[in-house]
């Protein structure tokens, strides 16, 4: 693929961030299997983690302050669609990377938002996101995390230490380690980590074909998070039931009887009983709701539960299901600036793809 005798002083990838917390939050979100595949592309890199041939998670990161990928053997090929083959991939132990990033303890130790999670608020729910964005931009607000309980960037990262770890990363190609240089400030210590890279294993191919899309929902992550938090960990499977809004009958209103055809229902079954949650057809809750036809698919709750870490720290969630039940959950993650790349995608998100359990299919 590329010459082995490449000089280490000319890395093919150089990148830097001034604050590792955003990156660490992404890594932590997919940290359920120690081996992760990193694919470097021109615009950023993806990290892919797979579990039980049914769950795939990847993050797409372009949140670097500085990013230079010198494609091995690349010509002046400017067509961004055709350079897929020029991507470089390797495997790394993800746990080790996270420990290294947090070497000074300032990569955001407590990621839990348990003390500050938001309540169900219909009235001003729509404005919440904007508040968060503004606070991310405003460094003075970040500092007084104590007074901003439950709001702003600090609620994602637990706040605490004022110091931020900055990081410089380089990779010289197959056979070379991934090198990270970390420092808090100029006077303090610097840490150099060389993380062994491995040849990538083939990744499960779970392509989501948008033309076969049956359901597409965009909602604030807290709406989904709180629903999933209700579900007991002992639950075996979770079922997503949805039908187009027109067909959803509304006879239940006022009588608190479950709707016959809910527009979105999450149903979980376990040893100790079952839980059922319906979402209202309200723009404040479901920002986008597109459903082609009634559907009902089940997933292993253990798999869905893997998303918890990512979900907890994310801002918005996009939920999609195709006609075979392949579930795609995209979580928009906080980033230093909400930038978009050419395709109009946000700069950092975590995506989970999960296969449906069995062929319950359409109703």
């Amino acid at each position: 693929m590329m010459p082995q005798d490449r000089d280490q002083s000319t890395p093919i990838l150089k990148a830097s961030v001034h604050d590792v917390r955003y990156l660490t939050a992404l890594f932590r979100g997919v940290n359920f299997s120690n081996r992760a595949t990193v694919t470097i592309t021109r615009t950023g890199f993806t990290i892919t983690v797979e579990e039980a041939h049914a769950l795939l998670a990847f993050i797409f990161a372009t949140l670097f302050d500085e990013y230079a990928y010198d494609q091995p053997g690349s010509g002046e090929d400017l067509d961004s669609q055709s350079n897929d083959g020029d991507n470089t991939a390797f495997e790394i132990p993800l746990n080790t990377v996270i420990e290294c990033l947090n070497i000074f303890g300032s990569a955001g130790m407590s990621m839990s938002t348990s003390g500050s999670y938001r309540k169900w608020k219909i009235s001003d729910g729509g404005s919440e996101n904007d508040d968060e964005r503004n606070e991310e931009h405003d460094p003075t607000k970040q500092k007084k995390n104590g007074t901003l309980a439950g709001r702003g960037i600090e609620s994602y990262f637990g706040g605490g230490s004022e110091k931020r770890t900055s990081m410089r990363l380089s990779y010289s190609g197959p056979g070379y380690p991934l090198t990270m240089i970390l420092a808090e400030d100029a006077s303090g210590p610097t840490t150099t980590c060389e993380i062994t890279t491995f040849e990538p294993e083939p990744i499960l191919d779970l392509n989501f074909d948008n033309s076969r899309l049956l359901l597409k929902i965009i909602l604030k992550s807290s709406w989904l998070r709180e629903a999933l938090m209700e579900i007991d960990a002992s639950c075996e499977k979770i079922t997503i039931i949805s039908s187009p809004p027109g067909e959803a009958t509304t006879i239940g209103i006022g009588r608190r009887r479950p709707l016959e055809k809910p527009i979105l229902r999450i149903h979980a079954e376990g040893a100790f009983g079952s839980t059922q949650m319906d979402y209202p057809n309200d723009k404040d809750v479901l920002e986008t709701f597109e459903c082609e036809k009634p559907l009902k698919f089940s997933y292993r709750f253990a798999h869905i539960n893997r998303t918890q870490r990512a979900l907890q720290n994310s801002i918005k969630t996009s939920l999609r299901i195709d006609d075979e039940g392949l579930l795609s959950l995209q979580f928009l993650m906080p980033s230093p600036q909400v930038r978009t790349n050419q395709e109009g995608q946000p700069s950092a998100f975590i995506e989970f793809r999960c296969l449906a359990l069995d062929d319950e299919g359409l109703e």
Binding site: N95, T96, I103, G188, T190, I195
Partner: protein
């Protein structure tokens, strides 16, 4: 054999015991007329490290009275865990979150006693309850008084002249870093030179992590031959877990000086209080790991 004293600085005393407790189940405490020594010299603990702690009596205690047939010293063995429990219940509530006693301590007396033919260190805590009532709490910590013959065998480890003396960065900072390294490796390479450089490294199959400090202070020491290259790095490979236990002493430390004997051992002097007016010092002997 008589021994009786009031404990003035309970917080410092209990923090020291807290550090010791993490290292060894049993420790030796030796009271002399001027100093208190706490010694852990068992080979069985993690990384077979030793602690020799020396504290000035007048910094911790008052009304200190000691009398014995062996030059007014008393040497005993006790469980630091039990000692810590006694001290915790004597700690004023405001400074310790672990205190649940709900009373204010006025005086803590520690004395040697014999109860049911068992030698004990008896802690008599008198204080005021929240309602303002006077109350007394007594803790007895079981001890074994050591025979003078055994005491004579106690000897601090002998070490060669160190190659490097270096003042360490704050131990709380070091501890954070060593904690991160713990899941990744068992052996920590501790390197330093006489030109302000300090490096903590791990090296395993999957990762190599070096953390460098370049602006450390090398205290001046009198040396016979100072011809050596100050930039030469000296290295000692030690047990990472053992070192992390030593890092627990950050709660009492002000200044810490590390002395390296190349591939032989590290001696860590953790000063309690200001170095100039040292109230005490915890000395850790951390031997190099034999293999690996």
């Amino acid at each position: 054999m008589r021994f009786r004293t009031s404990i003035d600085d309970i917080q410092t005393f209990s923090r020291i015991v807290q550090t010791i407790e993490k290292i060894q189940k049993k420790c030796i405490v030796r009271f002399t007329e001027d100093d208190v020594h706490i010694i852990c010299n068992s080979e069985t603990n993690e990384g077979s490290l030793q602690v020799w702690c020396k504290l000035r009596v007048d910094c911790l205690f008052s009304d200190y009275r000691i009398q014995s047939n062996s030059e007014n010293t008393i040497t005993l063995m006790l469980s630091p865990e039990a000692l810590l429990v006694a001290l915790r219940s004597a700690t004023p509530p405001s400074t310790s979150s672990s205190n649940t006693s709900g009373y204010e301590t006025e005086e803590v007396v520690m004395k040697l006693a014999k109860k049911n033919d068992q030698a004990v260190l008896s802690f008599e805590i008198s204080g005021l309850s929240r309602a303002g009532r006077r109350m007394r709490v007594t803790h007895d910590v079981r001890i074994d008084v050591m025979k003078p013959a055994d005491v004579e065998l106690l000897e601090e480890p002998r070490v060669p002249e160190p190659d490097v003396h270096v003042v360490l960065p704050p131990l709380s900072k070091l501890k954070t870093i060593v904690e991160r390294l713990k899941p990744m490796a068992n052996v920590l390479a501790f390197r330093a030179n006489n030109n302000g450089k300090l490096q903590l490294s791990i090296y395993t199959e999957s990762v190599k992590v070096d953390t460098d400090w370049n602006n450390c202070v090398n205290p001046k020491v009198q040396r016979q031959n100072d011809e050596r290259d100050p930039d030469e790095l000296h290295e000692v490979c030690i047990s990472l877990k053992g070192f992390l236990k030593v890092m627990n002493s950050y709660i009492v430390s002000t200044t810490t000086i590390a002395c390296l004997c190349h591939q032989y051992c590290i001696i860590l002097y953790v000063y309690i209080g200001d170095v100039a007016d040292a109230r005490g010092v915890l000395t850790f002997y951390i031997p190099a790991m034999v293999s690996e």
